[in-house]
């Protein structure tokens, strides 16, 4: 009988999840909301989805080739696929193909590989890409569309879809575009209209909750996003700390200000259900690499994200603040990790050994 192989330390039992398993579960959790979004916005959305994800994989392959590293193991762990997927969910569904492609390249190269690859990045790659695109191409990035469901009267057929995604102009999009919920509210509040009036004028509550409103590809359906989030939590991929802290702080701030002035400040429900709040709370802010590791740190991170989202939405220049909020808190993560470590067994919070009461003889 042979003796043991080269010296490797224990333990010699393992729990099954691997990195690719984690990515797969996240993709599974995203699927309901994604399918709904693709259905709502038709072929152009499907095209954009395909282009973005393929570009993400290609960008990763190109970088690894140039860096002389093996390509297959890195691609097969699914992280590039997932980054592309998350990015496309935050883009306007009828955006031209080059927005998706450029975004993917920025996300993979600038957002991840430049820092050293998987596990080394400081900022959420999808959010880096989104912010770069938003600032560089504001027109294309704010051209939202009312839903054109695949099986409805306003559906776009396949060839038209190709033309929209791969056409070079935004002319046809201009004629159809509408503002997202938050964008519309912000403009109207700025004009002095009470938000509830502005809301009721343009949207109905049922459509709003179920996602039949203009918005980014994956932001619209609150129930499906919530379902995905619960799946993630149940599969122990994420813990409850960040989503609860983020949603909680947005809700508290919104309710507070709504109580102060019900005309100008939208209610907590509208804030939670609109825009990228749920997507951000469950899928973006909880990104494993860029969020803190300790439970208390995660709560602080979540609260920070929530507060920043509310502040940006209410008083800053952009109607949607999740991307900026997450990026700012990502920058604070190393600091949070350094100062908010869990308490070590047998020591006080400051690191001193616990003082025992019974004196030794």
């Amino acid at each position: 009988m042979s003796t043991s192989p080269p010296l490797i330390g224990g333990p010699y039992l393992k729990q099954s999840p691997s990195v690719s398993h984690i990515m797969l579960v996240v993709m599974l959790a995203l699927t309901p909301a994604t399918l709904y979004g693709l259905f709502q916005f038709g072929w152009p959305a499907v095209n954009l989805f395909a282009v973005t994800i393929v570009s993400a994989m290609a960008a990763e392959a190109v970088w690894l080739k140039m860096a002389g590293q093996p390509i297959k193991p890195a691609l097969s762990d699914g992280s590039a696929f997932l980054t592309g997927w998350l990015l496309v969910l935050t883009l306007p569904p009828w955006a031209p193909w080059w927005i998706g492609a450029l975004g993917s390249v920025i996300a993979i190269w600038l957002g991840k590989q430049v820092f050293g690859g998987l596990g080394q990045n400081l900022f959420n790659p999808a959010m880096v890409a989104r912010v770069v695109l938003l600032i560089s191409f504001p027109v294309q990035m704010t051209a939202f569309i009312a839903p054109h469901p695949l099986a409805g009267p306003a559906t776009i057929d396949f060839m038209e879809g190709i033309a929209i995604t791969f056409g070079y102009g935004t002319a046809h999009v201009d004629t159809l575009s509408s503002a997202s919920v938050l964008g519309h509210l912000k403009t109207e509040i700025g004009r002095g209209t009470a938000w509830s009036e502005a809301f009721a004028d343009t949207f109905n509550m049922r459509g709003f909750v179920f996602g039949a409103v203009p918005g980014s590809l994956g932001e619209t359906s609150a129930p499906l996003l919530l379902l995905g989030g619960l799946l993630l939590w149940g599969a122990r991929i994420i813990t409850w700390h960040i989503p609860l802290a983020m949603l909680g702080s947005i809700a508290v701030l919104a309710a507070l200000f709504n109580a102060i002035d019900p005309l100008i400040y939208p209610s907590a429900l509208v804030h939670i259900l609109s825009g990228a709040t749920l997507l951000g709370a469950f899928f973006i802010a909880t990104d494993l690499v860029t969020s803190p590791v300790s439970p208390l740190g995660k709560v602080v991170f979540g609260v920070g994200c929530g507060v920043l989202v509310y502040v940006i939405r209410t008083w800053a220049g952009y109607p949607e603040g999740v991307a900026f909020a997450v990026l700012i808190m990502n920058a604070a993560t190393p600091l949070i990790d350094r100062y908010l470590k869990p308490r070590v067994y047998g020591r006080t919070r400051r690191g001193q050994p616990l003082a025992y009461k019974e004196p030794s003889k």
Partner: protein, 179 residues
């Protein structure tokens, strides 16, 4: 435009003056550094580094004239500590982590000439004229001076084998993505 040129020029001048003051009044004392480094060196004055003793070697290190990998008895641990102290990064991978060595006297060949123990910097060799010499292993630093002078080559350097007390787990292999 004149105001812009003036203000920037004044700013530059001001900052330059501050830097000058800092360079003069806040600079690190070189003397203290030499002493610190000398404390870190083994102190056996073996001369393997090429300098006539640990003091001149410390001065050379502080002045940046000597490589931090120059002290064999200090080994990698010393090189790492020097790298930290001097704030330089160094590629230590080329440095072999030499197994510690101690001298050993082959008692069949020793003629009791006393040349070796007179050279030993830590008095690790015990002996007298016409008596067979022996090495006190715990005191031996492995500098090798005794080997150089022995006329019968009875003193040799031997690797100290790792024992149950000194063994420890090896570092896990570095990540290789090609697995």
């Amino acid at each position: 435009m004149i105001s812009a040129i003036l203000s920037l020029a004044l700013l530059g001048l001001g900052l330059g003056v501050m830097l000058g003051f800092a360079a003069k009044y806040l600079k690190v004392e070189a003397g203290a550094l030499v002493q610190d480094i000398e404390q870190m060196l083994p102190g056996s004055q073996c001369g393997q580094c090429g300098y006539p003793g640990c003091s001149p070697a410390a001065e050379a290190l502080a002045g940046g004239q000597a490589a931090i990998t120059m002290c064999p008895p200090g080994g990698r641990a010393l090189a790492q500590a020097l790298a930290d102290k001097l704030g330089v990064s160094a590629d230590l991978s080329a440095m072999e982590d030499q197994a510690p060595q101690v001298a050993f006297v082959n008692e069949h060949l020793c003629i009791g000439c006393t040349k070796c123990f007179k050279r030993c910097p830590t008095d690790a060799l015990v002996g007298a004229n016409r008596q067979i010499h022996v090495v006190i292993k715990d005191a031996c630093t492995g500098c090798g001076k005794c080997v150089d002078v022995c006329p019968t080559e009875s003193v040799r350097m031997r690797d100290v084998p790792v024992s149950l007390e000194t063994w420890h787990w090896p570092k896990p292999d570095q990540l290789s993505l090609a697995s």
